[in-house]
């Protein structure tokens, strides 16, 4: 497959030609959905993929042993029909029979599971998701439809690791090897759609995988048009140039589209944003100072004032839909400026201090930042914004070169969130624990929770972890974000899951 614009045009012409000569019986099923894609595609190799919009394409090309229910976010079977584990250490997966790879790459079997997982674990692949599989001790295949994965230690959340996301996506060795270094542009999976053609500057075309194990999807062609600007995307939808807008992130445009009668598909509480406090900072290492900051800012009022559709105040690291892990009992910091002042006085800062906040310059000084500065000023804290461009921001954030910084928690696996952010093994720059937080009591509780077999006891342990975490407050939840995909009224089944992705197998045009 060549990537030149010319070849895509030719492909488009061929496509047009073939649809003209297609037998009449198929004509009714040949539906095309035009979708806005909001950035340059970066490739779809599960081992090295990044950014949600690319992941959404991969989500429809590949399958995992398990996947996420679009509406509830719960783990459900995908290529594995069922599984069992006696101790959270040994996991036996029973694979679905007769599952076909796209582009005639044959049946999916246990050998493909071994290949896919090994490929991510192989150092040469340099997959950023390698650490997700670091707990795997061995993978064996008693027969083509059974896979036994033995872990080094008990992990009750292992089903997330083999879900249809990053390292859990199943590939075919022959297809990977045939594509060589262009594999990211020539993916082959077992999902409902395959990649038909791509022009990295303007367009991605997915075609229905007729042999998909749940049956062919209702729409035959998904035509993604790259439109970067949110205002232009809204105009394109109103003009009928696209049927569905992937992620409209402009409050004003959302209002216009809603008033114009478009269907406002959305998912709420998709992920929370955090303020990361650097605990090596002489001021922030005092827990009272961190709590004071949390009491001082009214994120509810800020969200209401600036973007009521796209965000709301957040009071916890985990989301209420993370069943079995989320606890409602952990301390919450509702707006209370008097309490903030009192805590600051107790900590020895009656006249406040200067809080440096590292942020990206992508959107300049936003209204939200200005309001935050005002709220902090009201309790005597002077917040100074350090605005740097995104690569610099990421580097300084990873190096721990900041007083406070921001993070968004996109992971759907609650256990992984807690381990990544609170466990001392993951202290930055190695891992995501950018606060450099280390509380032995939390660590042992967390490890016990991961190993616990009994769901009720596990939930109790996780609740204790959240209790300690929210009392110590190395990370302060600020806002939760909601994701919108406005579309035409006749486009149905746009269920945005908690990874902010849409399973296009469920989408139809009526």
């Amino acid at each position: 497959m060549s990537l030149s614009r010319r070849s895509v045009l030719k492909g488009g012409a061929a496509l047009l030609g073939s649809s003209l000569v297609a037998p009449k019986a198929f004509a009714a099923a040949e539906k095309t959905l035009v979708i806005r894609f909001y950035d340059d595609p970066a490739g779809f190799d599960p081992a090295t993929i990044f950014r949600i919009e690319n992941e959404n394409i991969a989500f429809n090309i590949f399958s995992g042993l398990t996947t996420y229910d679009s509406k509830t976010g719960q783990i459900v079977p995908d290529l594995a029909e069922s599984w069992e584990t006696p101790d959270n250490v040994t996991w036996t997966f029973h694979l679905r029979k007769g599952v076909q790879f796209q582009k005639n790459y044959g049946e999916f079997t246990s050998a493909d599971v071994v290949y896919s997982l090994n490929r991510v674990m192989d150092e040469k692949t340099a997959s950023p998701y390698r650490s997700e599989l670091s707990g795997v001790d061995s993978i064996t295949t008693p027969d083509p439809y059974t896979v036994v994965i033995k872990l080094k230690a008990a992990n009750g959340g292992f089903l997330h690791t083999v879900a249809n996301y990053h390292e859990g996506q199943m590939l075919k060795k022959e297809a990977v090897e045939a594509a060589g270094d262009q594999w990211r542009w020539q993916p082959v999976g077992t999902g409902p759609y395959y990649l038909d053609s791509i022009d990295v500057n303007s367009r991605i075309v997915l075609k229905r995988h007729e042999g998909y194990y749940k049956g062919p999807a209702p729409i035959s062609t998904l035509d993604f048009h790259i439109i970067k600007d949110d205002a232009t995307a809204a105009i394109a939808l109103r003009n009928g140039e696209v049927d569905l807008v992937m992620r409209e992130s402009n409050e004003e445009q959302l209002k216009t589209l809603k008033d114009a009668g478009f269907k406002m598909n959305h998912v709420d509480n998709y992920a929370t944003s955090l303020k990361v406090f650097n605990l090596t900072d002489p001021i922030l290492k005092d827990v009272r100072v961190r709590q004071a900051i949390a009491y001082a800012i009214d994120y509810d009022a800020i969200s209401q004032a600036i973007s009521p559709s796209l965000q709301a105040a957040s009071y916890s690291m985990l989301m209420p839909w993370m069943e079995g892990v989320y606890s409602d009992k952990a301390p919450k910091y509702k707006y209370d400026p008097d309490k903030a002042k009192q805590l600051l006085t107790e900590a020895g800062y009656p006249n406040g201090f200067e809080l440096k906040a590292l942020n990206t310059s992508a959107q300049g000084v936003t209204e939200a930042m200005q309001l935050e500065i005002n709220y902090l000023a009201a309790v005597g804290i002077t917040e100074t914004m350090e605005l740097v461009d995104t690569p610099t921001y990421n580097k300084r954030r990873n190096d721990g070169d900041f007083m406070s910084a921001g993070r968004l928690l996109p992971a759907v696996n609650p256990d992984l969130i807690l381990f990544s952010y609170y466990h001392p093994d993951n202290i930055a720059p190695k891992g995501l624990n950018g606060a450099r937080y280390n509380n032995p009591e939390l660590t042992t509780t967390l490890e016990a929770a991961r190993a616990e077999k009994d769901p009720a006891k596990r939930a109790e342990l996780y609740a204790k972890v959240q209790d300690i975490a929210m009392t110590d407050l190395p990370y302060m939840p600020t806002t939760v974000s909601n994701v919108y995909w406005p579309g035409k009224q006749n486009v149905t089944g746009v269920n945005i899951n908690y990874l902010a992705q849409v399973n296009f197998w469920e989408v139809d045009i009526t």
Binding site: A231, N239, P391, N426
Partner: protein, 315 residues
């Protein structure tokens, strides 16, 4: 002419080598690298280091530089760091779009600004300052409107209300009609900003020439005002105009970023900004190398045009 050309080519090689070296090291001096650019929120430092190692980004910078020069000498421009796409292919795909916009803008600007500036100069010369002020004033207002704002206003009017032009959609290079349809609004937006500058330059230049002896002589021969103005005055005033047009063509090649973004045109500006944001060393280096070549060539071309316009100029 031959010696001149050889001199220019030598100059070109030195310029390009300098630019390449400068870009290579400045790219590596600014904080962040391709890996930290794509890190986002859920990649750990350990994972990022593994990727750096695989891409050879942990090798000493000087070795990377030598390796780069070696590739350049054999005309291997390589692939982008993160997406493994051939850099030359990306540039070749984006270039025609930006060139169409730039050429369109230059033509439209010249067609409007030159007559307007000449008229303003003539009015001023005749002492009818009001019309001169109105023309200069309008040009100034156009110049002051930010292009992201005019882009959106034009989109709303011509795309959403009147349906004359699409807001998005494919760009077909093999179909000039369709291409023009897609680039018309961006050309108008960019021209609005260019017209003011060019009209002012034309006005000043023509005004100066109007008081020259040969214009008075032309008038005394009884030729019509139009002929005097356009044939004699404008022709002699053309040098600064050509210079400005040449310069703005160069500037347009990277000044189209905002309109490309808003009108969804995958041109060169878009590519460079994306390359910068993702710290894609390979892409940015090759693009700047290419800019350097273009600028040197445009300067060369402008000099040649000088000679055509004004035989007194020696090169």
């Amino acid at each position: 002419m031959l010696i001149y050309s050889l001199k220019r080519i030598a100059q070109l090689v030195v310029t390009v080598l300098g630019v390449v070296t400068l870009v290579f090291f400045t790219m590596r001096m600014i904080p962040g690298d391709p890996i930290s650019a794509m890190a986002g929120d859920n990649l750990s430092g350990e994972a990022l280091d593994a990727m750096r190692k695989q891409m050879g980004l942990n090798e000493p910078v000087f070795f990377q530089y030598l390796h780069y020069l070696q590739n350049l000498a054999t005309l291997h421009f390589g692939t982008t760091v993160t997406t493994k796409l051939p850099v030359v292919g990306l540039i070749a795909g984006a270039l025609p779009i930006t060139i169409s916009i730039a050429v369109g803008t230059i033509v439209l600007t010249a067609l409007i600004a030159v007559p307007l500036g000449t008229l303003a100069a003539y009015m001023s010369y005749k002492g009818r300052k009001t019309l001169d002020n109105v023309i200069t004033g309008i040009a100034m207002v156009l110049d002051l409107m930010p292009s992201f704002w005019t882009s959106l206003v034009l989109l709303l009017i011509f795309s959403l209300v009147l349906h004359w032009f699409p807001a998005s959609g494919m760009v077909s290079l093999s179909d000039p009609g369709q291409l023009l349809h897609r680039v018309a609004l961006p050309i108008i937006v960019l021209s609005m900003a260019q017209i003011a500058t060019l009209a002012r330059i034309t006005r000043t230049s023509v005004l100066e020439v109007l008081s020259e002896d040969y214009v008075r002589t032309a008038r005394s021969l009884g030729w019509s005002e139009l002929r005097v103005l356009f044939r004699h005055a404008l022709k002699n005033a053309a040098l600064p105009i050509v210079t400005v047009l040449g310069l703005s063509f160069g500037n347009l090649l990277n000044g189209t970023v905002i309109v490309e973004f808003i009108f969804t045109l995958p041109g060169i500006g878009n590519l460079l900004v994306a390359g910068m944001n993702s710290r894609d060393y390979g892409l940015v280096q090759t693009m700047i190398l290419f800019y350097a070549l273009i600028f040197v060539l445009i300067n060369f071309a402008t000099d040649l045009v000088y000679r055509l316009v004004d035989p007194r100029v020696k090169i």
